[in-house]
Amino acid sequence: MKNVLLIFAFLTLLLFNSCMTDREAENSFYLNQINKIQVISSKTIFFTENREEDFNLTVSFFDRDNRPFLNNIDVPYVIYLGDSVIKEPSLDLSKPGKYKLRVMFPTRELTFSNEVEIEVVEGDYIKELVLDFSNETRNQFTLVNNEPYDFTLRAFGPDGEIPGVEEQIKRNLSLQVGNVNTNRLTGIPITQIGLIDVQASVFGIESNILKINSRQDVSYPIKEFQVVFHVFSNLFTPSQSSFESQINSSNIAFSGGIRSSFRRNLNAVDAGFRFKLADRNPDGSLMETKGVNRIMSNKVFLDAQDQELLQLKFNSLWDPSQYINVFIEDLSSLQAAGYAYLPFLTSPVVGGLNPILEEDTELFYPIMVALDYRLFNGQYRDDNVLAHELGHYLGLYHTFQDCQTGDFCDDTQSHTLPSNQSIRFSNNRTNCSNEPYISTNFMDYISVVDNFTFDQKERMTKVYENALFMPKDFNAPDSRIKPFKRGQLDPSIKPIICNF
């Protein structure tokens, strides 16, 4: 019996070897679905420097049917640089040369990725350095000591743009801005007036030259207008506060007081115009409701371009040399939030406003602004519609007017409206030279607006000084008030309709 037990014990030990063995990692049924690994390096070209440089790898896994696999999972993999295994993607930049990088996952058959060639090169690898304005400060015009510029710099090699070298460029950058030298690309103040050259240099390679026209802002005496809102009695019953709201918004807009989430425009200015609700009727008596004139009407005009309505408005205009006339209408037939008539000038001080007329011309068109009544009854909220229409009233065109003459203001980007409705109101615009930029101008159709520019101010000021039917007398109390002469309506004069 003792022998039997001995044999049993011996065989048991022999049979099971008295130990348990741990597994290798490569036997997973699930992980062995990995059939292909694709690796993309954030950088493939590095410039020689006495330092180590980290870079990022984008590693994608695919199964045997070439479908993406293990998405959004932090999959561990082994990195090979040449034949050496490295812990992190990092390169010693003091050793120029070519290196091959790949990654491996320990599947049963050891799955390797594609091979990425990485090269450490000297500075003369750069064939072209392209200096450009950043999207938010793209403008050849600026105001001295105003908002700082941001620039972008891209390096091109024999195979096109060299990706991922931004940090190395920043470390080795020299930027000449006029007679000032700096080593950064952002937050560059312009402190000189005149035409300024901007050029970058990296590793001894020089970029193209950007030219900036730096100007001094000019302050003019504030010009104030009194505004009368004409409301048809059968349309709706307005409250004075809703008009005050539009007037207040317009004052902030024209004083340059609006701040948005975007960088402030390089040429943003106080345009120098202010507005207030009229408090007296044309006969000098106090208005029943400040700034509001109710026009008694029994007829409902469904067509905003109805000739009878046009004639009614022409006849109802208060002296345009005293007031800005704003009519509150139903503009649904135009699908517009507002419209405005451009002024006529007595001398050709700005482009785009023709013909030039004599000073004693009788009023022949309804110089006015129209706003849709929904802006005032709570159906539609946009506090800047009046400011936009007043821009037209003072002679401004849309910034998207066309790519030939543009809007006659140098410091606004010429562009056209995107046909794609989904980006029609986006602040991310592309100008007529196909360069991206951020638009925040009041005269564009965009969701966020915050500025009139220096050239727009100059244009509006010249228009104001040379326009017919403009309430200039209000700002010159000592001037001789000319009698208001209402002539024959010329219905061929058309406003700029704004389909926000």
Partner: protein, 244 residues
């Protein structure tokens, strides 16, 4: 080096290639070689004991043929062999199971018996990635009908008989469920195809305790459980067989 290591090396059973890929055929040949290398040793030991037993038990008459049957219950440890185990080793990621069945036992001679053992088995087994940074586990629960045929059952002794056995088995998976987790999160779109018919050889050692039998048996499947294009995988099993 302990005595078992020495024995393994003497018998050349050690698998020196820890990381390489061993084709399934090579693995089977290797185990077969190992088994046949042991057989002469077992035969030598048994013949020596038999000679001694003949001289001691000459007065007890025994029947030359006998048929017994009994109820078989056997808890089991189940683990995958991916071709990376040395002979007789048990992987650390084993899972437990159990089987219930019958044993039919024919006495062929004083030292030789034949057994047939049908049973129904519930088997748990898991495929476990040990990569420290990513844990992928596929677990299986199988309901199996199996038959062990043991043509070579050698016994020795009187009331308590020592025994070693060798034979083959065939199992059919009646039902199998599987689940996979990746870093502890359930994976829904992954299911592997399994081979429902499993077969292989088994060998064990134990003792007849009167009418009862206790045996520890090792099962080596000779075909893959999961149809995988890259991973050879067979189920190895150790059963503690208790027969009443």
């Amino acid at each position: 080096m302990n005595s078992l290591d020495f024995l393994r090396k003497a018998l050349k059973l050690e698998n020196g290639n820890k990381t390489g890929i061993i084709p399934i055929e090579m693995k089977i040949i290797k185990i077969k070689k190992s088994f046949f290398a042991i057989l002469p040793l077992i035969g030598f030991i048994m013949s020596g004991i038999e000679a001694k037993a003949t001289t001691l038990n000459d007065s007890i008459p025994e029947k030359s043929s006998e048929f017994k049957k009994g109820i078989r219950f056997s808890p089991s440890m189940n683990f995958f062999d991916y071709g990376d185990l040395s002979f007789g080793q048990i992987a650390s990621d084993y899972k437990f199971g159990a089987a219930l069945g019958m044993v039919f036992d024919w006495k062929m001679s004083d030292y030789h018996r034949f057994r047939l053992e049908p049973y129904v088995e519930y088997q748990n087994i898991k495929n476990n990635s040990i990569n420290p940074d990513i844990e992928a586990i596929t677990s299986f629960s199988n309901l199996i009908f199996g038959v062990d045929a043991l043509p070579l059952v050698l016994t020795y002794g009187g009331k308590y008989k020592g025994t070693i056995s060798a034979g083959g088995f065939a199992k059919y998976v009646l039902n199998s469920s599987q689940s996979t987790t990746l870093n502890g999160n359930s994976v829904n779109n992954f299911e592997v195809e399994i081979n429902k018919l499993q077969y292989g050889f088994s060998f064990g050692a134990g003792a007849y305790l009167g009418k009862r039998l206790v045996e520890l048996r090792f099962y080596q499947s000779l075909n893959d459980f999961v149809n995988s294009p890259v991973i050879p995988n067979s189920i190895n099993q150790v059963q503690l067989i208790l027969v009443y």
